[in-house]
């Protein structure tokens, strides 16, 4: 069966990996190319670069990073951040990216997703959804349970089902769209995958928003990548139980808390199908090289 994927995400600014990576002896802990190679050696299933370079004029830098990285690795590479035009996508794919991740531009102009999918194929268009849980209105006067355990029912019974707003511009702006509806819409527009980030959980290390993952995974027929909140291996497990096809994680791998093989060994033990590395494949039947 198809393996659940583990995808390290690198934040790249002005061609450098922000905060660096410390899980292995690197000559340069901020060099995206060297880090990408190290992750390939660990058996990461894919890699995501998130370009957080401030200005649009500096896009050439990420193209150079993608080009140098793609020429050194043999696994899928997704690039996101600041993609606004078909030309942006074409440049990144030409530089060697396999997929691009679109966020703000998709929300502001949904037809952009459609055009991108029609031009380049759904398989390379990932729509990133940054979701923030909506506050529920509680009626503090309705006690559902009696003595010892108080549970307050919401005013509107429909509000029992949690809902999320879609944010854009790096989580700064509420688009007013409902995350579940938006997920269904981007699937119809031709997105091949959804990168689903919980703004509430991002950076907290207290676990993914499993309600969000569960509801979006059930609502769409395309793969969902869970993102935001991973702090330990159990969190990865919870995301897969909630229906994620893949998990995105940054700090738990970057700073050596866990290695990818450790994460996979744990997940395998828990009954999740993951890809383990075949060790000596390069050596078997070796006869020296020719050209």
């Amino acid at each position: 069966m198809l393996a659940k994927r583990i995808i390290p995400c690198l934040d790249v600014k002005d061609g450098r990996v922000v905060k660096g990576v410390r899980f292995v002896e690197l000559k340069d802990a901020g060099d995206p190319v060297e880090i990408a190679r190290a992750y390939e050696d660990q058996g990461a299933d894919e890699l995501v670069f998130l370009d957080i370079t401030a200005s649009h004029e500096e896009r050439k830098i990420i193209l150079d990073v993608v080009e140098r990285t793609a020429s050194q690795i043999s696994m899928p590479l997704t690039v996101g951040g600041g993609i606004r035009t078909i030309e942006d996508i074409r440049d990144l794919l030409r530089a060697g990216a396999d997929k691009v991740s679109i966020n703000t531009a998709a929300v502001e102009n949904p037809d952009f997703v459609k055009e991108a999918a029609e031009t380049f194929g759904s398989q390379c268009i990932v729509v990133a959804i940054d979701a923030k849980r909506r506050e529920t209105t509680w009626d503090l006067h309705t006690e559902v349970y009696g003595e010892g355990f108080k549970f307050y029912a919401p005013v509107n019974p429909a509000a029992l089902a949690p809902s999320w707003d879609v944010y854009t511009r790096g989580g700064r702006e509420n688009s007013g769209r409902d995350a579940l509806e938006w997920a269904e819409e981007v699937e119809k527009l031709g997105a091949g995958e959804i990168l689903l980030t919980s703004i509430d959980k991002d950076g907290t290390k207290e676990g993914y928003d499993v309600d969000l993952i569960y509801r979006v995974s059930r609502a769409v027929g395309i793969p969902v990548i869970a993102s935001g909140g991973a702090g330990n291996l159990e969190h990865l497990y919870e995301a897969f139980l909630a229906g994620a096809s893949a998990v995105l994680a940054a700090s738990i791998f970057h700073f050596g808390e866990y290695t990818i093989p450790q994460a996979k060994a744990y997940l395998k033990e828990m009954g999740i199908n993951v890809r383990l590395e075949q060790e000596d494949v390069g050596q078997k039947g070796e006869e020296g090289s020719e050209s």
């Binding site: 069966m1 198809l2 393996a3 659940k4 994927r5 390939e40 058996g43 299933d45 793609a70 020429s71 050194q72 043999s74 696994m75 899928p76 794919l93 060697g96 990216a97 396999d98 380049f120 194929g121 759904s122 398989q123 390379c124 091949g192 995958e193 995974s217 059930r218 027929g221 395309i222 793969p223 969902v224 897969f240 139980l241 229906g243 096809s245 893949a246 828990m270 009954g271 999740i272 890809r275 590395e277 075949q278 494949v281 390069g282 078997k284 039947g285 090289s289 020719e290 050209s291």
Partner: protein, 218 residues
Amino acid sequence: MRIAILDYGMGNVRSVETGFRRVGFDALLTRDPEEIRKATHIVLPGVGAFRDCMENLKTYGLIEPLKEALQSGRPFLGICLGLQILFEGSEEFGESKGLAIMRGKVVRFRGDMSEEIENRKTGVKRRYPLKIPHMGWNAVRILKDHPILEGIEDGSYFYFVHSYYVVPEDDVAVTTTSYGIDFVSAIARDNIFACQFHPEKSQKVGLRLLKNFARWRP
């Protein structure tokens, strides 16, 4: 030797070139019919839509050189769409015609497949729909030994990204993969080897496959 990779506007073909370079072989990205005639090894990659793939091949005048190459006995490697278009046709967009080098057709995964995931801690089982496209790493079961699969263990994981799969009429399947159903994930006949998965994206096992291909003398 000369490895020619057909570059006809269907996806990230440079990664195939990168793959060959990483195992010590130079390959040429080309859409020049003359280069294809001169090549000793031909690779037809491609991701995207079946119909666009055939149209692009036509536009660049590559159909004839490709058919010549397939019949010439020179090693041929088809990847993803490069496997699918060897067949007679695809059900994508109604019906699209392929090269018909192999007998059989290309069909879409059914949308009603599902998988069950059990929580080992609580025993609670949940059923989820299988996602389409079939995207990610999946195990490849080897049915028949083939020089291209030398050194690659049965059950190795390769990277896939596709919504359609081939249903050959003849006995050409060399590997199968399971995704709701068992489908043919690689075929071989004479000088032709073609796979649904992407060796150029499959790290060590994939690079091994590319190396085997470069050394293949059918």
